[in-house]
Amino acid sequence: MSSPEGPPIRSVEEGGIPDHSGPGFPVRPAPLAEMLGIRKSFGSTEVLHGVDFEVLPGEVHVLAGENGAGKSTLIKILSGAYDDFEGTLYVKGEPHRFAHPSEAVTAGIATIHQELSLVPSMSISDNLFLGREHTVALGRVDFVRQEEEAREILGKTELDLSPRQPVEDLPITAQQTLEIARALARDASVVVFDEPTSALGEQEVEALFRRIRELRARGRGIVYITHKMEEIYRLADRITVLRDGVVVRTASASELPPREMVRLMVGRDLDGDKGLGVEASPEVVLKVEDLRVAHPRLRSRFVVEGVSFTLRGGEILGLAGLEGSGKSEVLHALFGALEGRTSGRASLAGTPLPLRDPTRSVANGMVLLTNDRKAMGLAPDMSVAHSVSLSSLRRFSNRWGWLRRREERTAVERLTRGFRLGAPSLDAPVRALSGGNQQKTYLARCLLPTPSVLLLDEPTRGIDVGAKADIYDLMGEWVRSGIAILLITSEMDELLTLSHRILVMSRGRVTAELSRDTASKDRILEAAMGHGRGAA
């Protein structure tokens, strides 16, 4: 079966057999973790069909695949969330079957989840020793010793913090750094990163990458899951592509060009970045003057300070800025969700907006997609159909509030068909869907009321390339039909490709307005860091 040289890459498509001697590793070091023939079913559906996966010391192994390909399930087996699987999991050569995540941690596998697993109200030191507290007689916690060690751990990071500080006061990046520090303190040999950059700004991503490279240099094995192409090729030593619960290829990063990888992930060819090619109409839809948002606690300070702009029909206006620049607050304030903290004037198609009532905003044709689907977007137990129609119920009911359910259903079905929504049924609860399909459900809710202005905060966060391409197509359709979009995205390429104009914000103010022709990564970053030449 295998040729004398041996295939350089494993591929189910090509009928290859598992060959662990990758080209980058002539003398193959023993894998830190190895998964062989992993099968896993939920109920009667098998989602992993015999997956082989390994992590070697000193490598960053990217696990790529569309949402629903089985990445999360595989990682959950590795990190001890599931123990009812077939196949074998070896950690440092020993077979393991973790009944609980803490067993995986003990065996040296740390997982940095998309959602951080720190207890917000507890101190840094308490969090670092959570579940493995140092104790003295009678099980009393040795806080003094913990604090000392915590200070030591913090000393090794770039964080200048006191171990007593509660975690909830820290910015999300510091929390993430802390989680990584915790993993290292527990002597993890394998660190799994599950989309760690989805909540980070550009600078913070750089800091994270530095940390990951350090880990690699120290001989740790890193499993990295991401949907961002740029990240994959900046970090990966090897890439394993999963599709529909099968490994379609494992190869070194240099041998798997991006286009090929996307083809493997999606199983079809995507036409590349072509932009939306839609011209904005001259008619102004949204006019914002001197928008201000007060700080949630310090009322004398402002997180948005005097922002003015106009948005035209069919236009995509990008809003760029680092974390804390106030860009998300602009969206929330316009939507009326920051009642009591917002001042300024805004008008939608000539009608002044009250800036304090989300219900009215939706009725006026302005909807908001937040950047946190879980906390601010969807109710997990609600069915897909009901989630989609939630913002449009007035349209589907008479004045007594009686729902015209058939009409509602038809509209939801028609809309979701265009979204290529992968749901077992529209009556399934949202929680049963993969992240990408949840995001599509959320987007569909925003579209069903046929808005004239869409406020989109990270519309493609945490979803795979296939779904992203779908969403770009949809955005093109919306813009063509005259909808205006105010767009925030932390993916620079996305911002540059989609936006007609880009406003860059820094510390609550607009520091630059760039047209599509003048915008570039450098100029955006420059203005975002506060070196702009003032708003145009």
Binding site: G43, S44, F335, A337, P358, T359, S361, V362, A363, V367, L368, T370, A375, M376, G377, L378, A379, P380, D381, M382, H386, S389, L390, S391, L393, R394, S397, W400, G401, W402, L403, R405, R445, P449
Partner: protein, 332 residues
């Protein structure tokens, strides 16, 4: 056993309604085993169970709505007492006609519920605390209305002379039975309450908003759901059903007792929870509550048929609530 039917059975078994029905079935089986010399097989036992459980069931309807919003309403028992007292007072000493008294009592219950709702929605006080305060307040109000005594058809005049007034027909009507004595009017009112709640939750815009607010309040707000109005409506509905239950209670007792219905809210909560509606909010249904009401009804009936002493009855009820909830959650 056939494979595919096995799978289908397992899927059906996973639905909340199936689990609630199985708990009820189990209760009936227990009734058949401990049948108290065949008493459990007599139709009259089941008929009486339905009648006895109806007032609680009416409270449980409103409780279901509030619990789905991730709240709780502890005040229903006191609102019930206030409604009973107010109803008796309007009819007996004041001699109002029933068609005027009933809307006034229902409006009073709804108003008290709305006050709780406003405190929860506007002042952002926790539902437990708001309705605990309302529980105490409404009980006090009931005593003010009744002057601290039971209001009966033995009426005191302003001069202090006592006389007996005829019980208005509405008392008999509510406490009467139809279909050859097989179905009491109170039970009909209960079933009507279930139907009304079902309509609200499943057929009205308000119902969707209730589920959305309970499932994720912030998400609901940012989707344009009028969160405050929804919460006020939910508590108002609970107050309304408490008033309905109060009217039934007054009719059954033929008096307005300010001490009536003590701790009924706990039974109502137990019935909702035993049906499988979780206190976390965002899911549940009144059909589950109906099954829960019957389950607890049978439990009480079986215990009383077997002449279980009060102490045993209380302890068993507590234990069985926990078992039923665990049983419904099933194996993860």
């Amino acid at each position: 056993m056939n494979g595919s039917s096995g799978v289908r059975l397992r899927q059906w078994w996973a639905t909340p309604v199936a689990r609630a029905l199985l708990a009820l079935l189990l209760m009936v089986v227990i009734g058949c085993l401990f049948n108290a010399d065949g008493a459990f097989f007599r139709w009259s036992v089941h008929r009486d169970m339905l009648r006895q459980v109806s007032v609680f069931g009416i409270l449980a309807c409103g409780m279901t709505v509030v619990i789905i919003t991730a709240g709780i309403d502890l005040s229903v028992s006191s609102v019930l007492a206030l409604a009973a007292v107010l109803f008796a007072w309007l009819l007996l000493p004041l001699g109002w006609p029933a068609f005027l008294a009933i809307p006034v009592v229902l409006a009073a219950g709804t108003a008290l519920g709305s006050v709780s709702g406003i405190l929860v929605a506007r002042m952002r006080i926790q539902p437990f605390i708001v309705t605990l305060a309302m529980m105490v307040f409404a009980r006090g109000l009931a005593k003010v209305v009744s002057g601290g005594r039971k209001i009966t058809n033995y009426v005191m005049d302003a001069e202090g002379t006592a006389r007996v007034v005829d019980l208005p027909r509405v008392f008999d009507l509510v406490d009467s039975r139809i279909l050859g004595g097989n179905l009491s009017i109170v039970t009909v009112i209960f079933l009507f309450s279930v139907a009304l709640t079902w309509v609200v939750l499943s057929r009205l815009r308000l119902g969707r908003h209730i589920f959305a607010v309970g499932g994720n309040e912030e998400a609901a707000r940012l989707s344009g759901v009028p969160v405050r109005r929804t919460l006020v409506s939910a508590y108002a509905l609970s107050g309304f059903f408490a008033a309905v239950a109060g009217i039934c209670q007054a009719a059954q007792e033929t008096q307005g007792d300010p001490e009536t219905g003590m701790a009924y809210e706990l039974d109502a909560i137990a019935m909702v929870v035993i049906g499988g509606t979780t206190l976390a909010g965002g899911k549940g249904s009144v059909v589950l509550t109906l099954i829960g009401v019957l389950t607890i009804g049978y439990l009480q009936k079986i215990l009383s048929l077997n002449a279980a002493p009060e102490a045993t009855r209380l302890m068993l009820t507590g234990a069985i609530i926990i078992c039923a909830v665990l049983f419904q959650r099933g194996k993860k």
